[in-house]
Symmetry: C2
């Protein structure tokens, strides 16, 4: 099923269920008033939500036309947002871009950072850019939303804790990263609010494309209407979500609603294009001695979408304008 959050003036919005094609919806607030509440009580409410989603899909419930512009992110405020960097081609390229070596443990020890989760962006929310000199970039990623996940969970026991799969844009101020990492404490100011596609979906919505804790579909990215990325999110995800969960659970437990990201989708094959500008600039530097492609600026539009093998837009479309303050 496909869950989404309708803006209704409240902090957490109203839970809705959408049809597979994302065009119609029905309210689910009588089952759980918002997505966090549903995740808090998932075993009990998921079957009820599924039954209603099925009825909507079969037309037994009429539903109403869905206006994506009215959607909040699936979780407008989340308890944790942890982002991995599981595509090693991305790590190698962006490190090269800032003249840094990839860590020695690149292939054995996942890279993750804790991001800000209290104020997230919806699928049509503009990104207000305070300063274009900060080098704004997009990072197209997939993610999962966990249920309560205990300390010590391993990759082999992680699968049942993955409740939902999401699509996201990890907006990044690329120019703020080097001085920030220089200080040794990781990203902070360089990572503004993250944006989410309309639908958080149960793994079964992906069919065979959800396998080994990975999304085996292509990530499509458009910049001002031109497609710049079509990287495959599956095989080159060196650490799958189950391995990321094992890494996270070494010293902590997680509460329901914790969001875990894959990091920027990236393929070695250059024909796949790019899911963040930083990679393209690095390739230009390698080939031509200097970057040619600019960072984002006010007026730019970024769109991100993933299609299932049946052509359906799995998570709906992120379509965001960059605006001046």
């Amino acid at each position: 099923m496909k869950l989404a959050t309708l803006r209704d003036g409240s902090r957490d919005g109203a839970l809705i269920l959408a049809t597979r094609d994302g065009t119609r919806f029905t309210s689910a607030t009588d089952i759980a008033r918002d997505l966090q509440s549903a995740l808090d009580d998932w075993e009990r409410v998921a079957p009820q939500l599924q039954a209603r989603a099925d009825a909507l899909e079969r037309g037994e419930i009429g539903g109403a036309p869905l206006d994506v512009a009215r959607l909040a992110p699936p979780l407008p405020r989340a308890y944790e947002w942890i982002d991995g960097s599981a595509y090693l081609n991305h790590v190698r390229l962006v490190r090269k871009a800032r003249n840094a070596e990839p860590p020695a443990t690149l292939e054995t020890d996942p890279l993750v950072y804790q991001g800000g989760s209290g104020a997230l962006l919806g699928p049509r929310d503009a990104f207000v850019l305070p300063n274009p000199a900060w080098g704004l970039d997009f990072e197209a990623e997939v993610g999962v939303i966990l249920g309560d996940t205990p300390l010590g969970t391993t990759a082999s026991t992680a699968a049942p804790y993955v409740r939902l799969v999401v699509l996201l844009n990890d907006w990044t101020h690329r120019g703020l990263i080097p001085p920030e990492l220089e200080k040794g404490f990781g990203f902070f100011q360089s990572k503004p609010a993250t944006a989410f596609a309309p639908f958080a979906v149960t793994p079964d919505e992906l069919g065979d494309a959800w396998k080994d804790g990975r999304v085996h579909l292509r990530m499509n990215v458009w910049w001002n209407g031109q497609q710049v990325g079509r990287a495959h999110a599956g095989p080159e995800m060196h650490f799958g979500f189950h391995e990321l969960v094992q890494h996270l659970c070494k010293t902590r437990a997680y509460t329901a609603g914790t969001i875990v990201g894959s990091g920027t989708i990236s393929n070695v094959d250059r024909a796949a294009g790019y899911s963040c500008i930083a990679e393209q600039r690095m390739i230009e530097t390698i080939d031509q001695g200097k970057p040619v492609t600019r960072w984002l600026q006010a007026g730019d539009e970024v769109a991100i979408e993933i299609y299932g093998d049946d052509g359906v837009s799995v998570f709906g479309r992120i379509e965001a304008k960059v605006t001046a303050p």
Copy 2:
């Protein structure tokens, strides 16, 4: 007023108000069912909570004896937990301990990292230590809980967003830090769940000791009953909470309930003792060539408390045992 959270089987617990001496309490769930709900609607509910707290203090409401062992952390799950490192003596000592230079911008650019906020520990919760070889340490800190705080908030406009002041223990696996920071993404596994003292208090509870966004009181720390720390939390906090808020708000906005920590309280004067073991071990290394004091192990007990100028325990006492799994 002093707010606290009673464990009642729910995820967020039940909001209570305590007397100034922390011995008696009354329920406030009819005003706001939990602390997050109160923070979500603070302008409306704070006066009602204050009136009830006043009535409790004056004895017009009888209240019931407070058993601190029944308390959750003030926010059992928070939307963000951001920890600074604002006492430069601490930064200088721990960097020296791991043979790292303090950042060049130490005195002008605050150090902060994003911590895990979805599963926090209460004032009497044991710390279950999975592996003593990880070098468990305590870090005694003060913190603030923010209301909704907009992007671009500056130090001079930050004061009204500070809703509550808290006392906390930022448990740290010291041995996991060097390999983690080596990877460049900051702390993650080295920072397990953080523990909080019983009471989140409004700044006025500190009287004149709340000044310039700093807590001008001493941080008392006991290890197995022996007092090891009495550092002053005020003058040596190089960046006060208002300056930390300015740093945070450069690229993001924050939702009500965001917790911001000071970093380990630390004084240049060695007579003040230590608020984390790492500092003591570094001092031993400087003086005697090698560290003598061990890390924490199962069976150890850590207690942390701050007294107001009138002798009252402002936040109540953290008293935690380290246990084997």
